[in-house]
């Protein structure tokens, strides 16, 4: 990663995206700099339900923070010795929630970056609308037919792509991955087999499976025949890599729960060279209107699983993390002040995590808008200083190597000037 494409183009002094503005010899040169054969991988994680960014990455340096959250504030690091767990100091102003202690070493080794006060410029406080806008990456526009990661896949078509090029761990294809490009959606790859609710080893089941494979292989119906080919290829790959039997490397231990399981299967797919490029996982339980808790409690429990899952994935992947970026997001943040039920209500800006080898970590990125009354969005929420599309676009351009991201972000003018620079 000595000279990145981005660095090269930046120093060439040319605008990156104007159609036709970049001479083709430069574009080819930029491509050539990418190490061939080593695929960059993105793992996107959606925290559904609006995670409380202010108690995840705590601005303990703000006086207002503590007074606004009398029962749920996380104590500042200096008070650690006297009063038990407290925020884990990152830079003298921000601290991690103590449940995220497993992520601190990754911040210290510059593998983890945080973009605070980021999110959607649309001020809706509806989970549905905000998730929709973030997943389609078109704030304010509901009728966008596809998701932003699917548009990335569409823009970089691979005729002979592996059925595992794009995998979503969800019960039905999430909005982020919806669209014309093929995406394998499953809750658990262990369940990805042909059995019809019966024992997959049963002889009758095997007979039916073989017959399906035969009749689809020769079918004149091209759409169904080629898709079935993918399906059976996926099934046999999963059998080959023994998806049910996996020993994480480096002593990594994934936490119990769906996120840990999803990330473990992502790790297994990557290690077995199954052709994964984009993975999507989701985790719920962040909508804490009542009894959110502080250093312990509901949010603390969710964060423990969340942080431990990310850390386990990082540890498990080891050196392969050099080609992987993990990006986390949540539809909006929560009110700066706690409510009357020791919880928080729907707010505005939030904190996003970026983890991996390509990340210039060890830093909380973004402009801090402050928490004084006049600095708050609508007098109540953390204001926005980074549009989530600029974060997505930086990942698309600097990590996934997208030349022209305009197709991924319709109606938005992507400008590298607004990139926060968290990718090397």
């Amino acid at each position: 990663m000595s000279i990145s494409r981005r660095y090269f183009l930046k120093t060439s002094g040319l605008s990156l995206f104007g159609a036709g503005l970049v001479p083709s010899f430069l574009r080819r040169a930029a491509y050539a700099l990418e190490t061939p054969g080593r695929r960059k991988i993105l793992v996107a994680i959606f925290q559904r339900g609006a995670a409380d960014g202010l108690n995840i990455v705590i601005p303990f340096g703000e006086k207002e923070y503590h007074s606004m959250r009398p029962t749920i504030a996380i104590p500042e690091p200096s008070k650690r010795s006297e009063s038990g767990p407290s925020a884990i100091d990152l830079d003298g102003f921000f601290g991690l929630h103590p449940s995220l202690s497993s992520l601190k070493p990754l911040f210290d080794t510059r593998q983890l970056a945080i973009i605070h006060a980021s999110g959607s410029p649309d001020s809706t406080r509806s989970h549905f609308d905000a998730q929709d806008y973030m997943e389609s990456a078109t704030p304010g526009v509901k009728s966008t037919p596809d998701g932003w990661l699917n548009r990335f896949l569409q823009g970089a078509p691979e005729p002979d792509a592996s059925p595992f090029r794009a995998v979503a761990f969800a019960s039905s294809t999430p909005r982020t991955m919806m669209g014309a490009a093929s995406c394998l959606c499953t809750q658990d790859l262990q369940g990805f087999h042909l059995a019809g609710n019966a024992n997959p080893q049963a002889r009758g089941v095997q007979l039916v499976a073989n017959a399906f494979e035969e009749m689809y292989a020769t079918a004149t119906d091209r759409l169904l025949s080629s898709t079935a080919h993918e399906t059976f290829e996926a099934i046999s790959t999963l059998q080959r890599i023994q998806i049910g039997q996996y020993q994480p490397a480096n002593g990594a231990e994934y936490p119990k729960g769906p996120l840990g399981k999803s990330l473990q299967q992502v790790a297994q797919l990557i290690k077995s060279d199954a052709g994964l490029q984009v993975a999507f996982a989701e985790v719920g339980g962040w909508d804490n209107h009542v009894n959110e808790g502080g250093v312990t409690g509901q949010l603390a429990n969710r964060l423990k699983e969340f942080g431990d899952a990310l850390a386990a994935f990082h540890k498990d992947m080891g050196e392969q993390m050099a080609d992987i970026t993990v990006l986390t997001m949540s539809e909006f943040g929560r009110t700066a002040r706690e409510n009357g039920n020791r919880g928080t209500d729907h707010g505005h800006a939030n904190a996003m995590f970026v983890l991996g080898g390509p990340v210039k970590g060890g830093k909380v990125y973004g402009d801090w808008p402050g928490l004084k009354d006049h600095q708050l969005h609508e007098g109540r929420d953390l204001a926005l200083t980074t549009d989530f599309r600029d974060v997505f676009a930086e990942v698309a351009v600097c990590h996934l190597g997208v030349q022209d991201p305009t197709g991924i972000f319709p109606g938005y003018t992507v400008s590298p000037k607004r990139f926060r620079g968290f990718l090397a």
Partner: protein
């Protein structure tokens, strides 16, 4: 080669498009009456006795409750917490017999987080579950098949996401009171009904929309309610930013419901339409109230919509009504709706000739849906071998047509609905107002195709809880040729490719060689049924 279908295949083709799948008795009925007469009957659903399926549906208590009653009896667990109320058991209205109780075991982990929230506890999950059951039962067993096909078409055209706020309590009424009575009626009336439905007003935010020049503007602020933000007459606050014009409905009304994205409107028109609809809101949304026009929220200024002057003196609720009339009569609407209907009934990219003729009928009949359907269904473009099995079935259509072909029965509970979801069509769960795309490529991918094959196997082997297939009745004799003939006729009118047949016959041989019909093995009938339902041919209609 464009050629006319043989009479038998023409009947089959017609039934496979205008019903949720031909049953042997439908084929017989249509053959005897003739397609034209059969269509004529289907276009007048009120004249068809449907008491049998109505009896089933009478076992679903929520179907006869209004939104206010649903909200009262099926509150969201979280919301009663937030209000700090003690949770009291809901007042019991007639409960369904035990066999009809949703079987939720194991279904929770299959649901997306938001759905799971709804599916757990005594909350509104039962409301949405029962609406899904009603839809499935009608699709599988109603005699008013064309009406039911059109209910699905319009529900998708005017799509609403059940998980958005109070919509989970409003969707039942939307389906029953807004869509179904108009599904074979007049497009203009259907459009007006959706415009005034609380479900749509909420889904596309119009209930919040306040005119920038409304005289009451200073008197409205958004008040937090358990359901989101409601306009409430409170002292003006400078920070209440959500007060004001909301363009969502205005935009989607033109882009998705009427003109189509290239229908010739501008962003200026979107804004002007939104101004016309200010004040179209919901009376006490948190208590399940109906449509109400609130003059205090309305922008009484003059607007120009697609060149028409609207409002000013004498304006008010009529501004919105006028917009709906303009849009319903617009040539772009005639074309856009005709295109979508032809895409649904004929092929993904239907010939321009038939779309244009349909649009002409749309305009001449002023949106009379039966006339429009007749134009499509009697066209030579429809009755052509080039479009035989041109459409991939949606998962819902696949399941319903399997049931109809093999005469299966089901409580339409969570195990069956979960399979439809895993094939890519969770009912009432499509987030965007576009509705599910009517394209084969959006239904078929490696995971959903696997789901289709798994469904076929599970149904044929009687391994879906709450669902029964009478294998005995489907087995005329032990002769495998007889089993094949019977099932191939029922599922595919006997029109099966040589490859599919060869694969089925080969596996039958293998079963036979191993003495496969002993107890516990896949019986021959199950084997053939699984392979036919999961075949490439049966994925299409």
């Amino acid at each position: 080669m464009d050629s006319t279908l043989s009479p038998d295949l023409a009947t089959w083709h017609f039934l496979s498009r205008t019903t949720f799948g031909p049953r042997p008795q439908d084929v017989e009925e249509a053959r005897q009456a003739g397609i034209d007469q059969y269509l004529e009957v289907q276009l007048h659903p009120d004249k068809i006795d449907d008491s049998e399926v109505d009896k089933r549906i009478a076992t679903l208590p929520t179907l006869t409750m209004n939104p206010a009653e649903l909200m009262e009896d099926f509150p969201a667990p979280k919301q009663s917490q937030k209000q700090g109320k003690n949770q009291q058991p809901p007042k019991k209205r007639p409960t369904p017999p035990p066999a009809m109780t949703p079987d939720m075991e194991g279904a929770g982990k299959l649901m997306p987080p938001e759905t799971r929230q709804i599916m757990e506890g005594d909350g509104p999950r039962q409301v949405i579950m029962e609406l899904g059951r009603e839809q499935f039962w009608r699709a599988a067993y109603s005699k008013r098949q064309l009406q039911e096909v059109m209910v699905h078409f319009w529900m998708n055209h005017f799509n609403i996401y059940a998980e958005k706020g109070v919509d989970k309590w409003l969707l039942t009424s939307f389906e029953q009171d807004t869509i179904r009575p108009n599904a074979l009626g007049n497009f203009s009336q259907l459009l007006s009904a959706t415009a005034q439905s609380p479900a749509m007003l909420f889904y596309l935010d119009n209930w919040l929309s306040v005119g920038p020049n409304a005289d009451s503007n200073a008197g409205f602020a958004m008040r937090r309610t358990p359901f989101g933000f409601a306009p409430a007459p409170v002292a003006a606050k400078p920070n209440a930013e959500r007060r004001g014009l909301n363009e969502n409905y205005g935009r989607e009304l033109m882009e998705l419901h009427t003109l189509g994205v290239d229908g010739g409107y501008t962003q200026h028109d979107v804004r002007e339409v939104a101004r016309c609809f200010t004040g179209w809101t919901i009376d006490h949304p948190q208590q399940g109230g109906g449509f109400v026009f609130r003059p205090r929220m309305h922008d009484f200024g003059e607007k120009v919509v697609l060149g028409h002057r609207i409002g000013g003196q004498g304006g008010g609720i009529n501004d919105g009504i006028e917009v709906l009339q303009i849009l319903a009569a617009h040539p772009s609407t005639a074309h856009f709706i005709s295109l979508k209907l032809c895409r649904y009934f004929i092929s993904e990219d239907p010939p321009a000739s038939v779309v244009n003729r349909t649009a002409r009928t749309f305009t001449e009949s002023q949106g009379d849906i039966p006339s429009i359907l007749k134009t499509i269904l009697t066209s030579h473009e429809f009755n052509s071998s080039t479009v035989f099995r041109a459409k991939v079935k949606s998962p819902f259509e696949l399941v319903a047509s399997s049931f109809r072909a093999l005469d299966a029965d089901s409580d339409a509970g969570a195990p069956l609905m979960g399979m439809i979801m895993r094939m890519g069509q969770p009912l009432f769960q499509y987030q965007a107002p576009t509705g599910y795309p009517d394209r084969a490529s959006s239904w078929i991918n490696s995971g959903t195709l696997l789901g289709r094959m798994n469904f076929s196997m599970a149904l044929a082997a009687n391994r879906i809880r709450g669902t029964q297939l009478d294998l005995q009745a489907l087995t005329p004799s032990d002769d495998q040729q007889a089993i094949w003939d019977n099932l191939a006729q029922r599922t595919l009118c006997g029109e099966v490719s040589a490859d599919t047949k060869a694969a089925v016959m080969k596996s039958l041989e293998e079963v036979g060689n191993a003495g496969g019909d002993r107890p516990g093995a896949f019986p021959k009938t199950s084997l053939v049924a699984a392979l036919l339902l999961g075949s490439p041919e049966f994925q299409r209609r």
